[in-house]
Symmetry: C2
Subunit: 380 residues, 2 copies
Amino acid sequence: MGKKYLFTPGPTEVPPSVLAACAEPIIHHRTLEFEQIFAEVNEGLQYVFETSNPVLTFAASGTGAMESAVANLLSAGDEALCVQGGKFGERWTELCNAYGVKATPLDVEWGKAVEPSLIEKQLKDNPALKAVFVTLSETSTGVRSDLEAIGKIVAKTPAALVVDAVSGLGATRCRTDAWHLDVVVAGSQKALMLPPGLAMVSVSDKAWALVEKSTLPKYYFDWKKAKSNLDKKTTPFTPAVSLIVALRESLRLIREETLDAALARQARMAEACRAGLEAIGIELYSQSPVEGVTVGKVPEGIKGGDFVKRLWSDFGIKVAGGQAQLKGKIFRIATMGSLDCLDIPLVISAVEMTLHRMGYPVELGKGVAAAEKVLAQPVQ
Amino acid sequence: MGKKYLFTPGPTEVPPSVLAACAEPIIHHRTLEFEQIFAEVNEGLQYVFETSNPVLTFAASGTGAMESAVANLLSAGDEALCVQGGKFGERWTELCNAYGVKATPLDVEWGKAVEPSLIEKQLKDNPALKAVFVTLSETSTGVRSDLEAIGKIVAKTPAALVVDAVSGLGATRCRTDAWHLDVVVAGSQKALMLPPGLAMVSVSDKAWALVEKSTLPKYYFDWKKAKSNLDKKTTPFTPAVSLIVALRESLRLIREETLDAALARQARMAEACRAGLEAIGIELYSQSPVEGVTVGKVPEGIKGGDFVKRLWSDFGIKVAGGQAQLKGKIFRIATMGSLDCLDIPLVISAVEMTLHRMGYPVELGKGVAAAEKVLAQPVQ
């Protein structure tokens, strides 16, 4: 019966006004009313994506839109570079494999960001590479890639730079146009503060040229069909109307706060979260921490699964555990979306008390104090 | 500022308690709570599908799940029969073409149902056919296929029978198991009374055997992945949580009414709608009318587009016009989902007054009286 708190890196908490929009009576999608909403949504998405490229929206999870990038850009036998330093980077390789695209995996040690010069070398060694697949915010490890540097490198080659920004967009800076990001994939249930069920993808002119040559099969996720419908302010297939209406509201909230302020707020929350954890002896996992999710190593002697469970059972706090080889070894606290300043002392407080109850030596309040030290600074 | 009424064949009106469920705080999908909801949803879907086959649920529009049937059952170069007598039947052919499947289109005159013996002949003439794609309720023409008869024919062959039941399921009888329907595709925004954004597909043992041999590319819509996750009461990718929670509520409503009663109610509404239109001289388009949508021909001298627009502007009634070659020639009134008995005199009344205002000779009240004559009969 207690209060519940969603600190998971997707789905994230949805603001009340966005939830209310989800419950509005359904409108038909072939109407002027919907067209106006959809046009407003697209403008808002371009604002958050920082792009003048069209942003296509699909009724799907983020993975559906990731798949659309492979199917629309490439042909069977094409070669692509897949940077993988976590579960989501590996998904690019799996997607390429599913479609008969020759994926060259570029393995990065988990917890570290890819060294941009390694991508440069691969592109130099293999001019046949048609696309480079990267991850903005690797949710499984809390690592942020240096897309600005990578963008500069890939822009000089014929390859398209394709970014999984599903859990990053809106939480960490992603300058689509300025950084030469050809394709950026996002999802609704992260920093866009919506229920899951919508995925978006922005497509640059360079990417559209690849689309013209692609022969892989596609229909539901066909970008050309989506684009020609977008030009008419609609979608080729019935859109997830209620989520689009809700997206208008969440984009309105972001524009009201401004993207700069929203990013700064989330950066501050992440910094405070890291400071709080470190102050009580929790080691951070990521060596290039991203703003949207803070990853702590489970301390010696504590079972990671139990820790995550007790945060939930004792305090109603839902955080994520580790995936794959990190199962039981880390915990992940989302610091993105509609969470605010005071949510950080709150979650650090729960972490302190849970560790204490589990017999781990914690100086109660020390982590909270460290978080406050960050958050008490005047907001610029 | 007036009241608005959605009589479109998708999206349809969503009941208040289902809308309210859409606005519930988001829960995380990797929790016992979600697993219990998802298990309940799957039981409810099996009840409405009338099947003991697993029903896979995707965050997508119905077309996404239709595509999944092609991608999961077939391989490039396979042959398939596509029954097309309307816009949605044609979609099966387009999907096969997109995936390099050799589609044999079986053209049926629009407004008529396919003659099952024609399917029998095709299967006899071409034993290589691996699948037969049909449409339960062809929303573009208001035609219902005789799936019971077709099922008997296809069951005797090695081919799988794949049914687009997106706009039919829950509005008209669809006995998946008893009729030997190997794959049945449904969507959330029709008789399931939900916002758009979810698609479901049931898969028989015969179909699973084809899945094992299929080599077409798939990832997001991979049935095997969906099935192994379903066995663990979850989904491979983040599900559209709020729509799943809402689906639990709409399935609860259907079970409360009982499927038989819901189908009888919608059949009565459709019969009353047809009677009402015919009484004022509107010819019906479909020669095998389906329960979920009633299609009338726009009378001589009236512009179909204007008629649909004036129903909206004058009375807040949203009906659908014709698609493709039927543009301007027909109008389509949905009689499915959460609509109830009194909605029929209401919509017929608006049709009468709109035609009157547009100068078409109508004896006011005559259509309503004919509808009432059907609806006034005691409910069995």
